[in-house]
Every structure is written in C-alpha cells, then in structure tokens.
Symmetry: C2
C-alpha cells in the first residue's frame, strides 16, 4: 500500500466512524502533513483520492469538507416521460405559486427558486441603487437603448469568459429577466404547433412558454447526475420534427446536475447533425460549486446556433428583473422581438448591476454564496436523511440552491401540499416541472437562506407528513 | 343681439386685431364683468361661446387663453391608407430610433415621444425611489406577485374613475411598460396571419408588434380631428375577417386628436356588432387639455370587450417601465401571457409609483404638465407658422406633447432627416407610423421639454431645410 493510500484509508475510516461528520472541514494540508508525517504532495494526493471516492470535496480557498455519503444513498431515478409531444398543462398550479398565495408572508415557502436575499454581500447593490436613484440625470429616467446599457453588456461579456465564452458586448441583449430571454428565444425559433425537446423535469416557466405559444413539449428522459439523455434525444430527433432543444445543463433546476463537458459537446454535435438550435438556460451556472465554473455549451459553439439565456435573478436578486441573452446568429430577430415585447429594459437597475460587477462586488458575493449554498446543501441532505423515509430519492446538486426529492410509495405531492397548507408550509410539487403533470411523487426544496430552526422544523414536518401519508396508504391497501 | 353676444363680438374682434395674442390669457370673469358691466353668468356664457367658436380655450384653474387660430389654418388631410391588409415593414427605421443613434447625446432629438423629464414636480419620485432602494426589505428584492403590487393597482383603479372606469384592483395587471400590455393583448387575441384594424397613422411600436406576430395591418382612414373613420371601419369589418381593432382614441399619437364620446360609443357599437375586441391605448389620456379628462371607450364597455393599455411612461418617466392593462374578460389569458413573457414586474418601481400617486404628487404633476404642454403646443404652433411653408398641414393636439406636420410638395422626411443629421437634428419621419411606409411627407415633433432657443433654432433649421428641398425640387421639375 502506497503512503498516500494509507492516509486515504485513515481519513475514510474516521469519516465512516463519525469522527468527522458531514459538512465538517477536514484537516488542512499542512496539519495533515504534520499529523501523518507525510510530504505536501502525498497529502494532496490523498485528498484528491478521497475526493474521487466521494468522501470529501474541495471548496475554493477553504479546504476539504466531508460529504454526507460516499454517493447519495438513493438518487432519483432517470426520468421516463411520455415518448411523444404533449400540450403543456399545469398552469393552475403555477399560478398558485407565482400569483402569490394570499398569505405568503405567513407561509414557510420551502420550495421557491429564490436566492438568499439577506446576504451581507448584497448590501452594496442596495447602496448603489439608492445613490443612482437620488442623483439621477435625465438619461437615467429615459428609455435606455434597446439592446441595453453598454456598461452592463461589457461586464456580462467579461464574466462570460469564465464560462469559456468569447462574447462581444454587441452579442448581448439585456432582457426583463431570464424569462423574457427564454420567451423571445422560443418566439424566434418556433411557430404554433411546433415541437420543442426539453430536459425533464424542467423549469415550469419554460413549460408555460410552450403552452402560451401553442408549442408541443417533447420531454426527454434525463439522468439526475448526467443530464438529458443524448441517446433518447437522438432517437427523438430522428422521429420528430423538433424545432428547438431547450436545456438547463449547468446547475440544473430542479435536479442540480451539471452535464459534463463531453456530454455538452455531444449535445451540440447532435444539434448540428439535425440542424436544430439550442436554447441554453444558464441562470444558475455562476453558482456552480466547482472552480472555475463549468463551461457553457455556448462556449463550444462557433456557428451561433445557441441562444444563451440568463439573468441576475438567482445570483443577485430577482426583483430587479435584469436578465440577458446572447442570441448568436438570431441577433436581429431577437432585437425585434425584444422591442415589441417590452421595448428597452428599465434603465437604472442595469446601471446598478453594472456598477456592482465593475467594483468587484459580484465575484465577492458569488464566492460567499457558493460557500454558503454548498454548506446548506449538506445540512439539508442531512435533514432529509434524518426526517424522510429511508428510500427517498435525493438529488446531489453541483451548484445552486435547489434539492429534488423523489418520494417512495407513490405519495402525491399536490395532496401533500394541501395537507401542509394548514401548517403554513409549502413545497414545490414535482408536477409543476412536467408538461403533463408527471413527477407528482417528487418535490423541490430550497436551501438558499440561512437554515434556521424554523426551517428544520418545517422540513421535519414535511417528512412526518410524508410518512403519515404512506402509513395511511398502507392501511388502506392492507 | 343678446348681451353675451355683444361681449363675444368684442373679444373676438380684439383677438382678430391682435390685441390679445395667441397664448395670451384673456381677462378673468371678474374683470370682464367689471369692464363690460355684465353679470357673472353673462361673462361665463360669453366665454363658453367664444370657446365653442374656437377663439379661446379654458385651462383648468387658470382661465381662458387665446388659441392660435379660429381653426388651424391647414389641418393634415384625412389619411388614405391602402384598403387591404398589409405586412408591416419599416423595422430598420424604428431600430435606428430605439436602438439609439450612436451620438444621441449630441443630437437634438426633435421628434421623440418623451415627456419633460426635468420637471420639478417629478422630484418626489426620485426621492421615493432613493429611499425605497436604501431601506429595502427582503420582499422588495424578491419577485412581486404576478399581477403586480396591490397598492399600485389600487391607485390605478382610483385614477381610472376620472376616465369614467369602475375598475377593481384585480381587473388590473401591471406590465413592463405599455408596450408589453399591447403585445400581450395582441397575442391573446390573434394568431399569425390574422388581420388587425388600426387607426392610421399609428404608433410604430404597435405596428412592429403586428410584424413580429405575423399579423396583417389593415390601416383605416383617420381624421386628424375626429379620429378613426367609423364609416371606413364598418366597411372593413364587413369585408375582412378582422380579429382586433387597435386604436389610441384619446390624445392620439401622433395626431393629437381626442375622439368625441359619441364617436367612441360608435366605435364600441361597431365592435359589438361584429363581435371584435378593441385594444384601447390610453397612454396619453391623462395628459388631455380638458378637465375632467375624456372618458375611455373602456368606460362604456360592460362586456369586458376592451383591453385597456397604458403606462406611466408619458405621464411620469419611461425608464421605470411601469405600465398596466385592464384586460376585461381576457384576464386569465393575460395573466398567463404576462407570466411567460416576463414573469412578475420589477418590484420597487411599482412601490415608488404607488407612493407617488398616494401622496398626491401624480395629480399635482399632471396639472403642471398639462399647463406646460398646452403652452408649449401654442408656442410650437407659432414657430411652425413662422418657419415652415405656409401650406404645411399641422395637427391641433388636444393633449400630450406631440405635433404632426404634413409637408406640401411631396417632401420626403426620410431624406429630410438624412440632411438634418449633419446638423445634428432629428425629426420622427412619418413613415414610421404606417405599415407600408406611407406618410413619408409627414413628420412628428415633440414639445414636452422647455422650448429653448436651441430648440427654436432647430425647428427653424428644419423649416429652412424643407423649403430648400422644395426649391430644389421645383428647380429640377422646372
Ligand atoms: C431555470 C430557470 N430559468 C429561468 C428562470 C426565470 O428567471 P427570471 O426570474 O430571471 O426571469 C428561472 C427562475 O425561477 C429558472 O429557475
Ligand atoms: C401610443 C403609445 N403606446 C405605447 C407606447 C409604449 O409605451 P411604454 O414606453 O410604456 O412601453 C408609446 C410610447 O411611445 C406610445 O406612444
């Protein structure tokens, strides 16, 4: 046994014995050298192996941390949606969510797609907004130029290099949130009646665009770790006249996976072979737990085939509605659609976000949030392990702040939510994420904001309610 | 001759002799009584008659003012657009405008649709925005509810009573500018290929929606004083499968007319008879020079047939992008379209506008602006009279801040603009306002902001350039 292997074994045993617990920081390289009497390179190799084996993970500028299990005990299954294009339904449920439950303030919303809005590193943004609004020149109150503030587009182009993209500011179009970017993209690419391939489960906002535009959703089986099935997609492309492929390949909502570079390239190759455009939703991409952040599919695209869509709704705040798109070869159509959809985007929020980024606050905020979200993921995973049935499937997010659970025994999460309502709890039922209301036995949880005792109590109650429902079902069946 | 008739005659003679000049305030009722030795009711009757005869007009809380001419010397002609549905073109010209000319800061933009952004009565809005952004709670940074802030919708409903509308806050949907309201309305009512009837000339933003959505524009002849021709519209409704009627009946952009209540009712009756929905753009309605402001068509509608669209872009500032719609019986579809188009609207601008209205600043600001715009209209009319060819057709705006000129002798305003560019001047060429580029001999001017010497010099140069072009044409022809 090599020296580093001995070190790996020692650390793994300690973890398994509970000496180091989930989320704990492991000894630094230096103290490991000291304790085990090994060289720096041996300690580094040991940690690399420990990481590979799924015991621990590196966090940028911080060290190695214990993961909750070597691999999550039960992953959600690969999805098996209907193998034909479907009309999208589920609007009533979405409306219940986005219309705002009448007493939202008193509800504990455990499943919304909202970042930590109380983060200290966001404060400079508020300061800038306040200053900008007080000392505003006439241009600040006026219509902005249609493609958006040049300063903001420059900053977005600069940030995009971290995802491997070389964008010119003129390649970018500022939008009213990522929602508008997605909506414009689909309007450019499709006509009513067309078929769009989507990863499944998929963000409900996108699904509802398909519904509104009279499009058919072809939901493609998706693996909770590797993403959309290229094999299934290829079959679908052979079989159906697909006009666009819509995916969220990095820090997926709701599954949390990031597709590997190889699979991203594979997806692009398919799109090229069948000459289809890809709408790449990267809204959570900057919140990846790996450094540097994963590359976008867009970064491999030299034909302008990809319409990259994003916003600052998850990385900063959603209420400003500052989003953007890089529509590739569809720039002219995108400009026109943007004009007729909402005209120029609001002026001052763009300036504030641009300044926030320019002054370095964005990258600082991201670093903090990534650390926090990763820590929170592990805590929430621990709670799920503790409070939910043992055979609950759980995603293992590579970024972002959303967890996906697959409940055993056919529990219906729409009914679960109804029961939780009386306790002022709300989870996002999985059916929101499918064209046809699949995934009723799944649910989404949010771990962005500080995980207070109230949230733990809420999660516990959700788990208890799930178990109670299971027992009732068993009693009925027996 | 009755006593009041004598008074009318006296005043009319003084005006015609130039004793009272255009824009002058006429004697108050009291001093008129004193001077002419008549009763208050006789003086009042005299002013009423003088107003009817087109010599003077009442301004709220201010008195009677001399109008520039009994009727404008030359009105633009009733438009005669093509009598069949057309695809909309002109996007390149619109893009030139909304994309922002590269050196806009150095251009004197004489034709944009922008209110006076330097008005003192706007300052409280900036103060509120600054305060709101500094002391923001988490909800202020979060997604708002989909239909918009309740406070804002309450205020909008309250204000709508002045236009004769009884709206419940739940009848209202906040949008990203009036542009989104119009866009959603057309998406609800039509499918690609459908025909939409529009007043003509018509706001280019609406025309471009038709283009983007693959709709055909049927431009209906429109009178510069009474609005869309009901006779022509009736013929069109008999002849074509029209899916929606799109009009701006109050303080029309670009013509400035307000349709009479009778004609508004007539329009509604036609829509009822042919069972067609009306999209009523009321964005300039609150800037009417009459008190109380004119009623909307919506106020006569008890079937929910009318989708009323508006925003605070012309009454306050456009850069906040706060608009709204009252979609009548189409509420559910409107909510869905709004969700997929941009999600919830930005949170804090809504709060700021709501507070601005609640505290009474909106009505104060309107009063100021109406006074200012009316004064500016008269001044600009004077300049046009002075600096343009005598046979130039000129609109006579009943509200808002836009003037429409019809040039004699087939002057092409796109070419005019090209010539003006070297002098850093820009007018809105009439071709923007037609599906097929009609009205090239027309142009739009703005009189919102203080009419400085620089603006007068600009208007003068435009007039001189027009005359030079006419002379060149005459020389070529001769
Ligand atoms: C994957 C995904 N795309 C798009 C959006 C919409 O983003 P925005 O709020 O910026 O419009 C969301 C928000 O929930 C999302 O999760
Ligand atoms: C008649 C009319 N409707 C709608 C709009 C668009 O308004 P907003 O800027 O609020 O989207 C304008 C703006 O120029 C307009 O003149």
């Amino acid at each position: 046994m090599k020296r580093y292997e001995q070190v790996v074994q020692t650390l793994a045993q300690r973890i398994e014995q509970g000496l180091y617990r989930v989320g704990d920081r492991l000894p630094s390289i230096r103290s490991l050298c000291h304790e085990q009497g090994v060289s720096v390179s041996t300690a580094q190799e040991a940690y690399r192996r420990l990481e590979e084996a799924g015991f621990a993970e590196a966090r940028p500028r911080s060290g190695y941390y214990v993961l909750p299990r070597t691999t999550p005990s039960v992953l959600p299954r690969v999805s098996r949606p209907a193998q034909r294009p479907l009309d999208v339904s589920q609007w009533d449920q979405v409306l219940e969510l986005v219309g705002g439950p009448p007493d939202e303030d008193e509800m504990l919303m455990l499943g919304r797609g909202i970042p930590d809005l109380g983060a200290a590193t966001l404060r400079p943004l508020q300061r800038m907004l306040a200053t900008l609004h007080r000392h505003v020149d006439v241009r600040g109150l006026n219509y902005d130029s249609l493609s958006g503030s040049r300063e903001l587009r420059q900053q977005i182009a600069r940030l995009a290099t971290t995802s491997g993209c070389l964008l010119h500011p003129d390649d970018i179009l500022v939008t009213t949130g990522c929602q508008e970017a997605l909506s414009l993209s689909l309007r450019i690419l499709t006509q009513p009646g067309d078929v769009v391939a989507v990863d499944s489960p998929s963000f409900y906002g996108t699904m509802q665009i398909l519904k509104a535009q009279g499009l058919k959703a072809l939901e493609i089986p998706t693996d909770p770790q590797t993403g959309i099935s290229l094999e299934a997609l290829e079959l679908a492309l052979e079989q159906w006249p697909i006009k666009a492929i819509q995916v969220t390949p990095t820090c997926n909502n709701p599954l949390g996976y990031t597709m590997s570079e190889a699979r991203k390239r594979g997806l692009l190759a398919l799109a090229q072979r069948f000459d289809v455009a890809i709408i790449e939703d990267d809204i959570y991409g900057d919140l990846s737990f790996t450094t540097p952040r994963p590359k976008t599919i867009k970064s491999f695209d030299d034909e302008g085939r990809i319409l990259l869509c994003s916003s600052f709704s998850k990385t900063l705040v959603p209420g400003l509605r500052v989003g953007w798109m890089a529509p590739g070869r569809y720039r002219n159509q995108a400009l026109h659609m943007k004009y007729v959809s909402t005209g120029a985007s609001a002026t001052l929020p763009q300036r504030a976000v641009a300044e926030f980024i320019t002054q370095g606050h964005y990258e600082r905020h991201l670093r903090e949030m990534i650390r926090q979200y990763q820590r929170h993921r592990d805590i929430l995973l621990g709670w799920v392990e503790r409070y939910f049935p043992a055979d609950t499937g759980v995603s293992y997010p590579q970024g972002g702040f959303l967890l996906w659970l697959e409940l055993p025994g056919g529990i219906d999460c729409v009914r679960l939510n109804e029961r939780l309502a009386s306790e002022r709890l709300w989870i996002a039922p999985g059916s929101l994420f499918s064209a046809s209301g699949k995934y009723r036995h799944c649910l989404r949880l949010n771990y962005a904001a500080p995980l207070t005792a109230a949230i733990e109590a809420g999660i516990k109650r959700v788990g208890e309610t799930v178990m109670a429902m299971r027992d009732e079902q068993a009693a009925l069946a027996g």
